[in-house]
């Protein structure tokens, strides 16, 4: 039986997808701005944050409205509460992309420290994790959600590699590189945080689909 609530949940699904697309784009563009030293692109991400904040509030309001009007239960309740959590996580991801863009603005007028090899790799991992996490929510796909969580160690590995390189090959060898290296270290840290947010999303999706809490219980993923 098609319920009116089903249509409203579809709308919520679309809004979350839109939020996910904003997040993916923001990550990609922030690193693209770093690679191409594009001040305008970095500023564009910072300026667009206000639209993302607006969408976040709209989604929150919609979720609260659905709870108040329908008093949803079981999977409807899990879907809406997970939607609210995803909304907050995705908005936070966009905020981090804004943080990255601000670091980019600090760097663009300074000489290039080193060719960017692993940061774009870490960016690709983060971007893919966001895409998979949002898709897992839209499709209710547990396997995809698990894949997100299992991708996190690769993000950690790349972060460690980049940190080691920046500290040992740049900062320790030539102290004058420190201001630029610190900015890149921060960007690396931000990218890794994005990956952590996607694992939160994936854990919430698993709860939404099978009503099992895997957060803080990694053994349940096996």
């Amino acid at each position: 039986m098609e319920r009116h609530l089903d249509q409203e949940l579809q709308e919520l699904n679309k809004d979350i997808l839109k939020m996910g697309t904003y997040a993916e784009e923001a990550i990609y563009k922030s690193i693209e701005a770093l690679k191409t030293r594009d001040k305008e692109l970095a500023k564009n991400i910072i300026d667009n944050d206000v639209n993302v904040d607006k969408l976040e509030l709209e989604i929150d309001e919609k979720c609260i409205d659905l709870i108040a009007r329908y008093q949803p239960m079981a999977k409807d309740l899990r879907f809406i509460t997970t939607g609210m959590k995803l909304n907050a996580e995705l908005e936070r991801i966009v905020d981090i992309a804004v943080d990255i863009s601000q670091r980019v603005l600090e760097l663009v007028d300074k000489p290039v420290l080193k060719p960017l090899v692993d940061i774009p790799k870490l960016t690709a991992v983060a971007q893919n994790m966001v895409k998979m996490a949002v898709d897992s929510f839209i499709k209710g796909d547990i396997e995809l959600a698990k894949k997100v969580i299992l991708s996190d160690p690769e993000a950690d590995r790349l972060r460690n590699l980049i940190q080691k390189e920046l500290v040992e090959d740049c900062m320790m060898k030539d102290a004058s590189t420190a201001p630029r290296a610190v900015q890149l270290l921060l960007i690396t840290r931000f990218l890794e945080r994005i990956c952590d947010h996607t694992t939160n999303i994936a854990e919430d999706v698993i709860y939404m689909v099978q009503a099992e809490v895997v957060k803080h219980h990694p053994e349940k993923l096996k």
């Binding site: 039986m1 319920r3 609530l5 949803p72 239960m73 079981a74 999977k75 309740l77 899990r78 009503a211």
Partner: protein, 250 residues
């Protein structure tokens, strides 16, 4: 600790199989809710617990219902004693057309629980238990039929308390009440749970979710799922429970 244990309970109204192999254990001093669509057997099951179905013609019951480890379906059981222990509150409150005082005193008097001034104390204590004493203490001799619906329902609960019932069966106790009166009865149930085992049949799923600790979902005479209320309403194990509580069925 379980107060009521129902085992392999089947009930037939003539040829109609109204309860099918019901098994459930109801914990002492818990509020247990029974939910399900109309005609699913939840009120029939409730009425099995104080043998109210015995009053219906052509009823056949098999299996057992243990109250405090005693099968209430054994031959020769004292039904008056049973119904004193297992009291019932109905959809529409049904006070006697007597004074407020006499409504409460009636039970203790016929059960020889108290007489004289002892009755006064029982009336006071019972009305205090349902939070009616403050409102009614100065008009105890007014006709109970003049009370509001919510007050009448509280009075009916007080009558059970007066005869020292241990189990309160509530069949849609709030369906005739407005939301504020409903809330007050629900608050009262939470208070009573410390001393009584309460089983409530309700069509209102939000009410079941709010007041009960355990919930059973019934469908076509079967107890489909029984578990902690929180689990039933957030993560039911059975698909038919899921469909019912999310409004996809029923």
């Amino acid at each position: 600790m379980s107060k009521i244990d129902i085992k392999d309970l089947n009930l037939f109204y003539g040829n109609f199989h109204a309860l099918i192999d019901v098994n459930m254990s109801i914990k002492e001093k818990y509020i247990t809710a029974l939910i399900g669509s109309s005609g699913c057997g939840k009120s029939t099951l409730l009425r099995c617990i104080n043998r109210m179905n015995d009053l219906i013609e052509d009823v056949k019951i098999t299996g057992s219902c243990m109250v405090d480890s005693q099968n209430i379906y054994v031959e020769g059981l004292d039904l008056v004693k049973l119904r004193k222990k297992v009291g019932m509150v109905f959809q529409r409150p049904n006070p006697f057309p007597l004074s407020i005082y006499e409504n409460i005193a009636f039970g203790p008097r016929i059960h020889h629980i108290a007489k004289g001034s002892e009755l006064d104390s029982i009336v006071e204590e019972s009305l205090k238990s349902v939070l009616l004493w403050g409102e009614l203490k100065d008009r105890l001799h007014r006709n109970a039929l003049d009370l509001s619906l919510e007050q009448k329902q509280r009075l009916c609960i007080a009558r059970l308390i007066a005869v020292r019932s241990e189990i309160l069966l509530m069949d849609e106790p709030c369906s005739a009440l407005d939301p504020i009166a409903t809330l007050k009865i629900e608050e009262l149930m939470q208070k009573l749970k410390d001393d009584y085992t309460i089983i409530i049949v309700t069509h209102n799923m939000q009410q079941a979710a709010r007041v009960s600790s355990e919930t059973g979902f019934m469908l076509l005479g079967q107890l489909i799922e029984f578990g902690k209320t929180e689990q039933i309403f957030t993560a039911p194990k059975n698909e038919r429970t899921e469909d019912y509580i999310t409004g996809r069925y029923g």
